[in-house]
Symmetry: C2
Subunit: 116 residues, 2 copies
DNA sequence: CAGATTTACTACGTCTGCCGTACTATGTTT
DNA sequence: AAACATAGTACGGCAGACGTAGTAAATCTG
């Protein structure tokens, strides 16, 4: 079983988070589950990686946080939600471009051997 | 102009080096130039990154070093050449598999917008 | 033939993102 | 009542990439 090492995914965790926040604001636990679902169970972001990404990206103004109740009637625990900013959208787009370039480059050094 | 950030390429520098050493033993300066050529000028490995990769990979027994003259008649400066080991070949193969998986995962989060 | 450039490295310290471990504290299910 | 899911925070360590700098021989260039 091949796993994705942190050195490989490094630099794309932020992109994954932003791609989810592009759709609508969300919070840690939900994003974590969405990443698992979207990746078809192939990747799970670590909690600490996720929350430190929030801190970093908020500092960089790629996201904004706000606190909201779980249900509109005011009961339930409060959660910290994140929303993508315009700067975050730009950053996401640039990361998508970078990905296309990276793919082109790396594939020159990779040998692909079909299924087995 | 999009550039490839170190956080993105991290984890693939070793793979690139090994893919070159798979063909034949080589040395630092040459590998550096080959990476530039093979990537079509899109990526240049930093010297310090390259040489620290040698140290790490030799310790991990993915490569072996030997010293040789530049020309067979014994003149010219000596160079440190590296040769890939069986363990290194295995590692390279596993990295290729990992790349296929990473691609599948990351692409779920990326939006591709043709040329422009 | 002197100076610039290319070749071929080594040393050292810093930065950053990822991760392990651990802890807190509700809410919900069995 | 206990277990599990939810929703985090705190803290420290690690490893790979990189900036800066320095050495030194070989080769090209005016």
């Amino acid at each position: 079983m091949v796993a994705i090492s942190s050195d490989v995914i490094r630099g794309y965790n932020d992109t994954m988070i932003l791609s989810i926040l592009k759709k609508e604001p969300s919070y840690g636990y939900s994003i974590s589950k969405q990443i698992k679902t979207i990746s078809d169970g192939k990747y799970a972001i670590k909690e600490t990686t996720l929350y430190s990404a929030f801190t970093r990206m908020e500092k960089n103004e790629y996201i904004e946080s706000f606190v909201a109740e779980q249900s509109p009637d005011g009961n339930g625990k409060k959660r910290t939600y994140y929303r993508i900013t315009d700067k975050g959208l730009e950053y996401y787009d640039s990361k998508c471009e970078e990905w296309e370039l990276t793919k082109e480059v790396v594939e020159n050094f990779i040998e692909y051997k079909g299924e087995e």
